[in-house]
């Protein structure tokens, strides 16, 4: 037994020495360079097929390019398309039967990574594959309005829509599928493509080590420059735990973290060699007031009173460290359709109390207001494990109580909460919408887009608003559409169907030496221009 114990002690000693001695050359703490950039990423992709994933497409967008993308100012810019089709350049023709034809001119000289030319046949194949019905893409939105695609030549695709469709410019933002590789195959199980897609982008997948990382390597002759991108390899390490991800950034084991939580920013500011890049987000945090489930919310005076009860500047300054801006509506400041001149609800408890009194809500003995035997008491649901939301909920609870409304908080995990709100089975909810790059609001506010038909979970029912929204959906002229959407925003602010809190600013932590990085407010993500990135020499 003694000999065994001695042997064990020896083994432990050797293992310990080997382990500790081995870190010096582990290579995990090399700084960012043009040879390797390590990104701490919060989740592993489900698939690299851009049409099938329901996770942000950061990694995929380095490999598979769209006909267009959104830049850091949310402008739609061409990538594989030679130009954006519009009414002015005759790329869009409105037909007498109520439909429309959109002509996409493709950029010449672009090839897939295997050398095959990228052509209009790929555009046609993509539409056919999505509309065929035996595949499981995430969404067929827009594609199901396409009746057919003609390919008069290899660089021209004419897309025929059955009806007017205003967001047509973003129809192919997720790119195209390579016909020569995927024709005749089951896309659900084409795992060679789904794990390492063939693209036209600046990088291709070199290795996907499940549970650990995806490694991308630069293509040698990227079409934009004819040469390889400056950064040779991008390593996306999967680090779902936020604290771990931030710790690794501080330790230098990862060089970049996208979407730093706002309450973590101050801990990163002092880290040498790291720059924080902030862009205005394309989403907004708000409290949804469900008029169907909690009838007192159907009275606009109650909704406005609760909006006045919240000191939003104080809330963002304290809980969110001043990293976000207070906003007043669903379309965010970077959008061309943004309307700044809407009714806003400043912190004013006098106004809040007056509105509630006018609506007939009188204070009870416990300070909570009562009307016709009903207490102004409701439950707010929000996501558990999201520290900021939990703190904001508590702040709202105090604010509402000060004007006589009793709000209970119920925390639900991220998956459960989705099914609850989709059924409309809640009183109020603190959450955000990350809006699409297209400024459509119909889905969220039209009277006939309540669940399950849409995301109108405020259950707002206003025909004036719905008329404006549907008119905007049919307006192919961008300026006219934006005018309609601006009017819709003013109407939404008057109705106060939800308490709008703040813009979801996007903050990315990147190496201070990284040139070309701009960030991006849309789902195009911060890697939208990765081909232009370069680590400057120190």
């Amino acid at each position: 037994m003694r000999r065994s114990m001695k042997t064990l002690a020896l083994v432990v000693g050797v293992v310990g020495m080997t382990a500790c001695g081995g870190t010096g050359d582990s290579g995990s703490k090399t700084g960012a360079s043009n040879d390797l950039l390590i990104i701490g990423y919060d989740r592993e992709p489900d698939t690299m097929n851009r049409y099938a994933t329901h996770i942000l497409e950061d990694i995929e967008s380095c490999v598979v390019e769209g006909l267009v993308t959104n830049d850091e100012q949310m402008r739609i810019v061409p990538v594989l398309a030679a130009e954006i089709p519009t009414l002015e350049n005759k790329g869009v023709v409105l037909r007498a039967d109520g439909g429309m034809d959109v002509t996409w001119k493709l950029r010449p000289g672009v090839t897939w990574h295997d050398g095959t030319p990228h052509t209009s046949a790929d555009v046609q194949f993509t539409v056919q594959a999505i509309n065929k019905g035996d595949w499981k893409p995430e969404s067929v939105d827009g594609f199901d309005r396409i009746s057919s695609v003609d390919t008069p030549d290899s660089l021209t695709a004419v897309v025929h829509y059955k009806e007017l469709y205003a967001p047509y410019q973003l129809q192919f933002v997720r790119g195209t599928l390579p016909k020569h590789l995927l024709q005749g195959r089951d896309l659900n199980t084409a795992n060679d493509y789904n794990r390492a897609p063939l693209g036209t982008g600046p990088y291709k997948v070199k290795e996907w080590k499940t549970g650990e990382y995806v490694l991308l390597e630069a293509v040698p002759n990227y079409w934009r420059t004819g040469t390889a991108p400056k950064i040779r390899q991008l390593l996306f390490r999967f680090l779902p735990n936020t604290t771990t991800r931030i710790n690794l950034l501080k330790a230098g084991e990862v060089h970049m973290v996208a979407l730093v939580p706002w309450d973590q920013v101050r801990t990163i500011v002092p880290v040498p060699g790291i720059r924080l890049n902030k862009v205005v987000g394309n989403g907004y945090e708000h409290v949804t007031l469900n008029q169907r489930n909690f009838p007192p919310f159907a009275d606009v005076r109650v909704r406005r009173a609760l909006a006045h009860a919240v000191d939003r500047p104080l809330l963002t300054k304290t809980i969110l460290d001043g990293e976000v801006e207070v906003v007043n509506g669903p379309i965010q400041p970077l959008s061309a359709a943004y309307e700044p001149n809407v009714r806003s609800y400043a912190y004013d408890t006098v106004a809040a109390n007056r509105l509630l009194e006018e609506a007939g809500w009188r204070r009870g003995a416990d300070g909570i207001r009562v009307k016709d035997g009903t207490r102004l008491a409701f439950t707010l649901i929000t996501q558990s494990g999201f520290a900021i939301r939990e703190s904001v909920s508590q702040s709202l609870q105090q604010a509402f109580r000060a004007v006589g409304a009793d709000m209970q908080i119920r925390l639900l995990d991220g998956t459960s909460i989705s099914s609850v709100w989709f059924k409309g089975d809640f009183d109020a909810m603190l959450h955000w919408w990350q809006m699409g790059a297209d400024p459509e609001l119909t889905l969220f506010f039209a009277h006939d887009r309540m669940p399950p038909a849409g995301r109108n979970i405020n259950f707002v029912n206003d025909t004036t608003l719905s008329t404006l929204l549907y008119a905007s959906d049919r307006a192919i002229d961008v300026a006219k559409r934006n005018d309609l959407l601006r009017e819709a925003q003013r109407r939404i602010a008057d109705l106060a169907p939800e308490i709008v809190l703040y813009n979801t600013a996007k903050i990315d932590a990147v190496p201070a030496t990284l040139k070309g990085f701009t960030g991006n407010p849309t789902n195009a993500g911060p890697f939208w221009n990765v081909h232009a990135w370069e680590i400057a020499p120190k």
Binding site: T18, L239, T244, T415
Partner: protein, 314 residues
Amino acid sequence: MRLLLRRSVLAVPLLLLVSALVFALLQAVPGGPLAAYLENPNVRSEDIARLRTAMGLDAPVSVQYVRWLTAFVQGDWGYSYADGRPVLLRVLERVPATLELVLSGSVLALLFAFPLGLVAATRTWGERLSRVVTTAGVSVPVFWLGLLLQLSFAMQLGWLPSSGRQSFGATGLADRLSHLVLPALVLAVVQGAAWTRYLQRSVRDTLALPFVNAGRQRGLSESRLVWRHALPNALAPFVTVVLLDAAMLASGAVVTESVFAWPGVGSLFTEALVKRDYPVLMAFLMVGAVTVIVLNLLADLAVARLDPRTREEA
């Protein structure tokens, strides 16, 4: 052999019952595989309905269960809802990392528990030391301990890597071991504390038995009494506990794997739970159930080997 046969036959209805219960429970949890799609405004209700049909989720739960069971017993574990790859492949590719972590954690825990448990059972100062150490060990949250070790040894001192199973581009054993140290240590501290207490109690109870007193009065030395007589008798219940805890250790690895970004079955389980990836969850839970049954059997066999009195009963 008879024991093995009897247990195997008994395991079948037990596994069927477990599978039916787990399947029903998973369906009862709010949310579902399509919940993640709802966050995307571009996914409309028509898309949700289309995907539900395509994934077979529109059938009654009983029909879904029978479909799953029929395929599962034939070796077809289905495809992951999350990435469309075969479930068997997804589970198997994660097993080596978890085995590596759990085995290392167990060995470290035993190295910790064995001497401390013995000293605690035989020395007053050892008992005091053990009380402090094991109370701390069983009380400390795994998550917190993991972050603390990460901050101390990886970030402050820079002695060890803070996460992952291997440095990018590294192939050596030293690199693998250096990544293993912290997560294995976290598992070992928590489990070692519990095992120390079991061993301490088991040895102390045995030392109080009449045959040990008889040996003591016949002039046997204290060390001989402990090593030759008390320990072998105390080991039988201890081994049972260790083997049964091994399965629990794997569940403790779920949190550890999350903190240290360890690519094992635990992180796959967490991911599958968040996404309500039923085929992966069912496979994970069935593998877990089989593991517990097998380890139970192994524990019985080990006890029978260590304690001749139990052989006949077995």
